[in-house]
Symmetry: C2
Subunit: 165 residues, 2 copies
């Protein structure tokens, strides 16, 4: 039932163009200690994200990125062609797990799969696409699994205007 | 069954100190257009996060923050005393919904409630606390609901060392 990998397909897709099982691959991003510290200072100032020495004595036994940093980089990779959805990537909600921490030097890449498509009952011009995005590093270790519910216009003739579904 | 609001309590709490129904309140953070644009340029470069003019014609009918920016600010507010958990805030996973978008000028504040406590079967020194954190603006509108599963040491005598549970 799965479709061929759509990596490289960049024309934006509407809800009616998507199929369950369809897959997309993103570009990649290398994270380094400087990026980890900068994000942590701004949004998640905890010792295991801020200080390699303190991090060695933590649960993680070394410096790790904030999980919210991993998700932010994942979003960037999806927006930059990793998930070519018409109207942009507008999330109604998401579930996230972090099976392994992101560490300095990791090269992140995202593979996404369409898992459910549900036209809106109240708004015929749109629907919800549920997309499972797995962020892995260069050793193929899964750092994050993000299952997001996106608001997607049905077709090119849909307006997509008005408040969220 | 709910306990008094614990706002201001800042001594870090271990799993054995927490109770279902216990509540915590964070400080506040005012988000402005400049912050929204800076985050979007780095992590979520979509027109409705980057350009007030383009945003007027989007689903949101005006500039809105990336949902990942709302969650990052929420994390900052939790780390800075909004959720005083011993050993830090270490997430195993989370569920997020964004009932309303975050807009320039919104003042974000987070209220958290302990919803489940589960000692680890394999590791007697720790457990999982499930915490529901609601981020609201100055008008009391709910911008985000974050339900996070946190790894928490059982008591002050727990080491908290070793790989994640």
């Amino acid at each position: 039932m799965t479709n061929p990998n759509q990596a490289g397909a960049k024309e934006p897709l509407f809800l009616d163009d998507l199929q369950v099982g369809q897959r997309f691959a993103s570009g990649s991003h290398r994270i380094d200690e400087e990026q980890i510290l900068a994000f942590a200072r701004q949004f998640d100032p905890q010792p295991f994200h801020l200080d390699a020495g303190a991090a060695r004595h933590s649960l993680f036994q070394g410096l790790v990125a904030s999980g919210w940093h991993t998700v932010a980089i994942t979003m960037r990779l999806l927006v930059e062609g990793g998930l070519p959805i018409a109207g942009g990537l507008i999330g109604a909600g998401a579930e996230i797990t972090w099976p392994n921490p992101t560490r300095p030097g990791d090269v992140l890449q995202v593979e996404s799969e369409v898992v459910e498509l549900r036209p809106s009952r109240s708004r015929p011009d749109r629907g919800i696409a549920t997309i499972r995005s797995e962020t892995r590093n260069q050793r193929g270790e899964t750092l994050q699994v993000l299952v997001a519910r996106l608001v997607v216009p049905r077709s090119a003739t849909s307006t997509g205007a008005g408040p969220a579904a």
